[in-house]
């Protein structure tokens, strides 16, 4: 390998995080370089454009303190790879997979390219195994299945991190003792946020099932480009090599996109919407599409990226492009948060595209999908009546309408709202749903089959218990 190492002793220019050097024969597109500063410090970089004359290098860590005369650039002849190993479980790393928990370095079982390779669409297994998070709003209404990518769209100051931590604590697949792991990537978060996550992970007691990668707001911006890929490479290694079911939590993807924009501006690219690069969709897809199941393999990679919508705007390019790639979204509502509802899940804007395949008999319960549809329909009606009654007053509403109004309140307070350390089984969740539906006239439950009403409606259940 040392034979392929080439070195350039002078940089032509340095700006932002880019270094231009005179090209020498044999430089590979995308290869890793080591930039040794005049001070003796060494940083990693990557070739992002190369011609016969010039190579453009993106330097992880930025080009501050680079002395163009004294810098030395060594081309390593290979693309960016990280060491992967089962020993990474229970450890904490930086954005380039270097341990930062004071522990020993990792003995690599393998070196993996951080860009991975796309899963052949013909080899994918459609995801269909229900993950129970113990949170009613998610399990009951927007179920997650293994291999799905389901982001949380949040806003500044909303409790997305607490929800993510609760999911990590509680998520399990029912009735199976399979190998489960969590890969956590903190992207440009504050020190407090990173600390909160690490603490809450530690408190679950199963820290040995967790691999954490942390890039705080103070770490080099450019490392933010690498960290989701490093995390996913590790997740894929655990999933496809060891058959583990890996949940990847990435927070905050907004910081990733900001880093992408910064980089694009440094490269003087033509900006797209709001200054984000035109290829941001494709770039995000190369991250999110690494979720999935593969036919004939035991493991799975499930993703839960978290992003904060700038100014709570869901049409902002970051949530917009994410929503076009992911299989649904869980949107948090500032209104519900103000009302003191936790988790403040906006039921009307949230969606899980893969829920249909993950619920029902043999997976959750036969009435699940119908109860979900009916709860949403009733809550939508209640919301509409709320708006109407704000104008015309509640007096002019009919008895039926008043029941729907009361339902909407109950739904928020009893169904959506729950404790941060409360784990509800899917049966408990559905039973709460039934309790609320029972406050409506039975003939209003048009979306539920007569058999399921007879079997699960509290009115009939009580009777059968009494017998």
């Amino acid at each position: 390998m040392s034979l392929s190492v080439k070195e350039v002793r002078k940089a032509l220019s340095a700006k932002g995080s880019l270094l231009l050097v005179e090209a020498i024969p044999g430089i590979r597109y995308g290869e890793v370089v080591e930039v040794t500063l005049g001070t003796g410090e060494t940083r990693l970089g990557q070739v992002i454009d190369v011609s016969r004359d010039v190579a453009v290098i993106q330097v992880f860590g930025g080009v501050s303190e680079v002395n163009t005369k004294a810098a030395r650039v060594r081309f390593r002849g290979e693309t960016l790879r990280i060491p992967v190993s089962l020993d990474m479980l229970g450890r904490i790393f930086d954005g380039l997979a270097r341990p930062i928990d004071g522990g020993p370095p990792i003995l690599p079982e393998d070196w993996a390219d951080i860009n991975g390779a796309p899963i052949n669409p013909a080899s994918r297994e459609p995801p269909s195994e229900f993950i129970e998070t113990g949170i009613s709003a998610i399990d009951g209404l927007f179920s997650i299945v293994r291999g799905q990518k389901l982001p949380i769209f949040s806003g500044a100051g909303l409790p997305h991190n607490r929800i993510a931590a609760q999911i990590v604590r509680q998520a399990r697949v029912r009735g199976k003792g399979e190998k489960f792991a969590v890969v956590f990537a903190a992207i440009g978060v504050t020190y407090e946020e990173a600390y909160f996550f690490m603490e809450s992970l530690r408190r679950t007691g199963n820290i040995e099932n967790i691999v954490a990668f942390i890039n705080t707001a103070a770490s080099p911006v450019i490392e933010r480009i690498a960290i989701p890929r490093v995390a996913l490479t590790t997740a894929e290694f655990l999933a496809w090599k060891y058959g583990m079911h890996v949940l990847v939590v990435m927070t905050d993807m907004t910081n990733y996109c900001e880093a992408l924009r910064e980089l694009s501006a440094a490269r003087e690219e033509i900006p797209g919407r709001r200054g984000y690069p035109g290829y941001m969709y494709t770039d995000l897809a190369t991250i999110y599409e690494r979720a999935g199941r593969i036919r004939g393999k035991d493991g799975s990679v499930t993703q839960m990226p978290i992003l904060t919508m700038p100014d709570d705007d869901i049409t902002h390019p970051i949530p917009d492009l994410t929503g076009y790639i992911t299989e649904g979204q869980i949107v948090l509502s500032r209104d519900l948060h103000r009302k003191g509802i936790y988790p403040p899940v906006d039921v009307l804007l949230s969606l899980s595209r893969l829920m249909k395949d993950g619920v029902g008999p043999g997976k959750t319960r036969e009435d699940h999908y119908q109860v979900f549809m009916q709860l949403i329909a009733a809550y939508t009606e209640g919301q509409y009546l709320r708006e109407l009654s704000a104008i015309v007053g509640t007096e002019s509403l009919s008895e039926r309408d008043k029941k729907y109004l009361a339902f909407a309140d109950l739904f928020e307070r009893r169904f959506i709202n729950q404790g941060e350390y409360e784990r509800r089984t899917i049966e408990q969740t559905l039973d709460i749903g039934w309790e609320l539906l029972a406050t409506l006239p039975e003939e209003e439950l048009k979306l539920i089959s007569v058999e399921n009403i007879k079997k699960y409606h509290p009115k009939y259940r009580r009777k059968s218990k009494g017998e």
Partner: protein, 592 residues
């Protein structure tokens, strides 16, 4: 062949020098791994190449070799039911060779080479006959659903000097020879190749006078698409684009369906593949995959291949059109292809147009959509075929004023606009009746009215009711529903019935997923009859509350779930019940 060297590498764009003698759109093999690329521009001896595979690891100075060919599709038996990538590599075969991840540099034949097909020759054709492009040499029953016609390839004219008899042949075996003059003989095989960027020839274009029945009420009745027509489906994320497109490919009454997943989700593609294997064709009961071709270039696969996946789909569509079949091709999503164009254009440092898209965005989209059409096919026997194109558009922020949506609108005949607000209210398919339109209504009305005399009148009335509802709702939002006169309240009821009992259709319900034309028109007739009768009652002084309490309304709401063969009798009963119950209300009101 031209042999050059890499001069520059920038993402999917490679510039090679010493490329004199190459042509634009020629396929080239780049680097030692021979990655597949296409020349998109020449400047002096430099060729600008878009590479359809990941370029990481390429070095300046590596060889680039021209192929002398344009990027072409292999057309012949073995194409149906298969999944290809944008370069027509069969993804299921690739899995067997390199495992579950897409690797670069893999070269695979598109059609299976060792499989033998049962060829039945066309007995009307004899040695010595003059043959023209498109003449049917014989047939191969490729699947239970599709009789694959083997045609003389475009560009081959001459005298048939030899033709094989019935028998088993691979796609590469010779099944005949044509003397094309000048002592040159052309070998005929079950397959031939055709450049994807070049429209296949036909005799003449026909007016799109027949509807493409899709089995979706809102489309067939309100915003119809013609066979050979073009439609666009723009919609923000979560508005149900993909479900609608998949529904269309599942139920459209065509002989061949082509599904192009261009820059979209891998899990969705897997789901489509599985459901096409599971779902049965409503007419024959055979798996839908037997008449389908899939092209999958998911969002994380190389961007440049998004363009080829779209053109590959169109070319395969035209090939089956030339056999005299009705073909539907859907592309999900054309926006991703446009974004790929933008990325390549930026790397070429071209002058950008609107929002960074290249100035030629519109003409490139036109090259694609204009290949749709209903045609008189080339060759004998005489036949007509059609290729209908439906393209999804993913406008950023669901804002339809963006360049891809606006440029697409210039070329399409039916706009199927999806509305996120409708989807959030769980109104599916979330097709906005206020924004969508169809330019085919007038030409198709002739077809419909031959079968259902009131089709157009009913359609127009329903849309008018919905339009009026929209105006009234603005008043309701200000002053509440009580301020409206009863006639307006009744209109709101009718609009609600049209929305909930007609327009909404459950793509996953065993019966409601597909609605045949008789049922579609019948349902509308029942709803409008109820509205007309109720209005009569209201004018006769019957209180609105009594009309609203009629039990027949609940029955109307359940029409969707009635099986197709039972529907005519159910419709008759419903109409009878509507007349009777309203008459008794009027009679009762008069008596009181």
């Amino acid at each position: 062949m031209v042999k050059g060297r890499i001069w520059r590498i920038s993402g999917p764009l490679v510039v090679a020098e010493q490329m004199h003698g190459s042509m634009v759109y020629e396929v080239v093999y780049v680097g030692e791994e021979r990655l597949i690329g296409e020349i998109i521009g020449m400047q002096g001896d430099r060729a600008f190449i878009q590479v359809y595979e990941d370029t990481s690891g390429l070095r300046v100075g590596e060889p680039v070799e021209g192929s002398g060919d344009l990027l072409s599709a292999e057309l012949g038996p073995g194409i149906l039911g298969r999944v290809f990538d944008g370069l027509q590599r069969p993804l299921s075969d690739m899995e067997l060779i390199v495992g579950p991840f897409v690797e670069r540099g893999v070269k695979l034949p598109s059609l299976p080479r060792d499989k033998k097909w049962v060829f039945r020759r066309n007995t009307n054709l004899r040695v010595g006959d003059k043959v023209r492009p498109g003449d049917v040499l014989g047939t191969v029953k490729e699947t239970e659903l599709v009789l694959h016609k083997i045609m003389v390839p475009p560009n081959v004219h001459g005298t048939l000097v030899e033709v094989a008899g019935d028998g088993d042949y691979t796609v590469e075996d010779a099944i005949g020879y044509v003397d094309v003059g000048g002592g040159r003989k052309v070998e005929l095989k079950l397959m031939h190749r055709w450049p994807v960027r070049k429209p296949r020839p036909y005799l003449s274009r026909l007016e799109p006078t027949e509807p493409l029945i899709i089995g979706q009420r809102v489309l067939d009745m309100m915003f119809p698409i013609a066979r050979g027509g073009k439609a666009a489906v723009p919609g923000g994320f979560g508005s149900g684009k993909t479900v609608l497109l998949q529904t269309m490919t599942k139920w459209a009454r065509t002989q061949i369906n082509i599904y192009v997943g261009c820059g979209e989700r891998g899990n969705e593609m897997a789901d489509a593949l599985h459901s096409f294997l599971k779902l049965k064709d409503p007419e024959s009961g055979r798996p839908l995959a037997e008449k389908a071709v899939f092209i999958a270039n998911t969002s994380n696969m190389p961007v440049a291949a998004r363009e080829t996946s779209v053109f590959l789909g169109v070319t395969i569509g035209e090939y089956f059109r030339d056999m005299g079949y009705d073909v539907l091709m859907v592309a999900d999503s054309t926006s991703r292809w446009a974004e790929a164009m933008r990325e390549i254009s930026a790397r070429l440092e071209e002058m950008p147009g609107e929002e960074g898209f290249p100035a030629y965005l519109g003409s490139r989209l036109a090259e694609f959509y204009e290949r749709a059409g209903r045609v008189k096919c080339a060759g004998s026997p005489e036949r007509t075929g059609s290729l209908t194109i439906v393209g999804a558009v993913s406008p950023p922020g669901a804002d339809f004023s963006e360049p891809v949506t606006q440029n697409t609108l210039r070329y399409i005949g039916t706009l199927i606009a999806l509305d996120v607000a409708l989807a959030n209210r769980r109104h599916f398919p979330a097709i906005s009746w206020l924004i969508s339109y169809s330019l085919y209504v007038e030409t198709l009305a002739r077809w419909w009215e031959k079968r259902f005399p009131n089709w157009k009148a009913m359609r127009d009335e329903a849309l008018e009711i919905l339009q009026r509802e929209n105006e009234l709702m603005e008043i309701v939002r200000l002053v509440g529903p009580d301020a409206l006169p009863d006639s307006d309240k009744l209109l709101l009821d009718a609009a609600r019935m049209i929305r909930e009992d007609f327009l909404q259709q459950n793509a996953f319900h065993p019966i409601d997923a597909y609605c045949p034309p008789e049922k579609t028109v019948g349902m509308m007739e029942v709803i409008l009859t109820f509205y007309h009768e109720a209005r009569k009652a209201l004018e006769a002084g019957v209180p609105l509350e009594k009309i609203r309490a009629l039990p027949v309304r609940a029955k109307i709401a359940r029409m969707k779930e009635v099986e197709y063969d039972k529907f005519p009798s159910v419709k008759k009963e419903l109409l009878k019940e509507i007349h009777e119950s309203i008459n008794s209300l009027i009679g009762g009101g008069a008596a009181a």
